[in-house]
Symmetry: C2
Subunit: 345 residues, 2 copies
């Protein structure tokens, strides 16, 4: 397993189609991040977008030795647009063109900081889904406090049906096994109580499906169980997952702001104390941008990854490097196998 995650000398580089135009700080930060990523071993970057815009943001230093190519795409889908309509009306959108590169085999992965909905819709439309999956989901470890716990779905789907939640559980289980090396991941449904009969309709209806599956299903967990490792995979609707993830990430910075005012002048913020506080305030960050597989759209028949809309260059570079590792871990084929087992049940 571990071997899959390393790039051997003989491996061909992993070709990653980067949507240069998507994101709050695109193209600037995405282009800078892609250049940083291109300096890593085993990566070839395909920057997709309006080339004359993209090149403005290349670093001053010579980048001609780096494995970076350009594919022209004249259009852009914004967050405000309905993904399905937008993809239909803008066939030359960067996200569409980038997804098609995976479909045609010209790229091994596509990655975007643009609209999550547009990325998901485009991936489904042009790369396709794994059999048995009705909608792909985003899974992410909960760094730093629970890096071995996967939260899935982090925001690709809302109003999920029980069979969709089950497919998230399967994807999360594969994530846990193949990328975090957990042998028999404990899978739980996120709920407002641990007793049977608690919860909303979708969660109550999902329980028997999970129980019948061959997942290592441990039942319901509550909000306060997420960080304590009771479950390795915490399954939820993307509405809940997205709110939780964004809330979690806001706590560290908010606590820092709060304490800066409160302790001003009282504690000398020097040396190890300063360092320690810096660590404390960075405890609450999700791995969508830091961990292997973070931001992957699980269920797409290929590697399609989303990044935070507000991502900056260095994080973008890390995510692109993670995309390489995710391709090498061959998770799409693993998930296909797992889905077959479930369907055989």
């Amino acid at each position: 397993m571990e071997k899959r995650r390393l790039i051997s000398e003989n491996d061909k580089p992993i070709r990653i189609a980067v949507d240069a135009m998507g994101g709050d700080f695109a193209p600037a930060e995405i282009v800078k991040g892609a250049v940083l990523a291109a300096e890593h071993k085993g990566i070839e970057i395909i920057l997709v977008g309006i080339k004359k815009e993209i090149v403005k943001y290349l670093p001053q230093k010579d980048t001609s030795h780096l494995p970076i190519r350009y594919v022209e795409a004249s259009q852009l889908i914004t967050n405000e647009e309905n993904p399905a309509f937008a993809i239909y009306r803008k066939p030359d959108a960067s996200i569409v063109v980038a997804s098609k590169l995976v479909k045609s085999g010209e790229a091994d992965a596509v990655i975007s900081a643009g609209s999550t909905g547009a990325m998901a819709t485009s991936a489904i439309q042009f790369i396709g889904k794994i059999e048995g999956i009705s909608r792909p989901a985003i899974g992410s470890p909960i760094d730093v406090l629970a890096p071995n716990t996967i939260l899935i779905d982090c925001g690709a789907n809302v109003d999920c049906k029980p069979h969709q939640l089950l497919s998230f559980g399967i994807a999360g289980s594969v994530y846990s096994k193949k990328l975090l090396n957990i042998g028999n991941p404990k899978v739980a449904l996120l709920n407002i109580g641990s007793e049977l009969g608690k919860g909303n309709q979708a969660i109550k209806a999902s329980y028997p499906l999970f129980e019948k599956s061959n997942l290592n299903f441990i039942g319901f967990v509550e909000g306060n169980d997420i960080l304590c490792g009771r479950a390795d995979v915490v399954v939820c609707d993307g509405f809940v997952g997205n709110i939780l993830m964004k809330f979690y990430e806001s706590i560290g910075p908010r606590a820092e702001e709060y304490l800066k005012v409160k302790i001003k002048g009282k504690i000398p913020m020097i040396g190890p104390v300063k360092k320690l506080f810096k660590d404390v305030f960075s405890l609450t960050q999700m791995s969508q941008t830091t961990s292997i597989g973070g931001g992957l759209l699980w269920g797409v028949n290929g590697i399609a990854m989303v990044m935070h809309g507000n991502i900056k260059a260095e994080q973008a570079a890390r995510t692109i490097v993670r995309a390489r590792d995710t391709v090498n871990a061959d998770v799409v084929n693993y998930l296909k196998e797992e889905m077959t087992k479930i369907n055989d049940n």
Copy 2:
């Protein structure tokens, strides 16, 4: 306004029916908490439950001078029971008997750490609802990091309809005005994006209702906006609110656990540094048990409050004192007035 929250010498004591049997550590911790609360000005405690069990947990010292009465109730509703069935089948349950004391005017408030569902159902059944409210909701300020922001509903309702979410917005707005003294509270719907068209069906359908209302509606906010004060009232389904609240409360203790291992021996945990860390780890606690109005079932035609199931004596005492202040703030009548205005629109 402020005057309402103070107890004048001439005020009659506020009579609080405490469900002595509900809660993970009941009756011990509830009884101890009630005795502590009875030492406060302007409070009369009515302990409801099995008296011969209750008296076992009275403190050794003489309590005969304290305003404590007992009302016998022979049954108990557990978390595992369906609230509606349980209330029907157990007419002598402590929660039922305590609620009826409010209905009959023998108590000014009822409070329980037992099943939230049983408390809500019992309150609706025996105390009744305010006109225009279909289901009561739990609102709570987000102490310590956002003590002026109300999250509502924190877990009394799931699968909420748009008109229910609107009534939570109205209740939250009254909370903010009357208990936090915010003049024109900004009300927002919690969503996974700020753009129109984002979100699940219930949230999307709620938007026009909020827009038409006379609330100071500011639109959608996301998970990362909750703590930053963008909205004074954050409205959500109780499924989301309950998970968020429990998750939030788990972060401080989890961070402490994490850091204890990490910094062992590296930083001397003495004096102000130790104190500061203690403060940091208690930053994430909801006010259900600490703030005025925290845990109130907004929409019940009387004061009915829930406490955390795992509450201990001192917190329980604080919540009972808060119940007194909530009665004095006359929030039920304020909410009735606000509901009338909405219905007149």
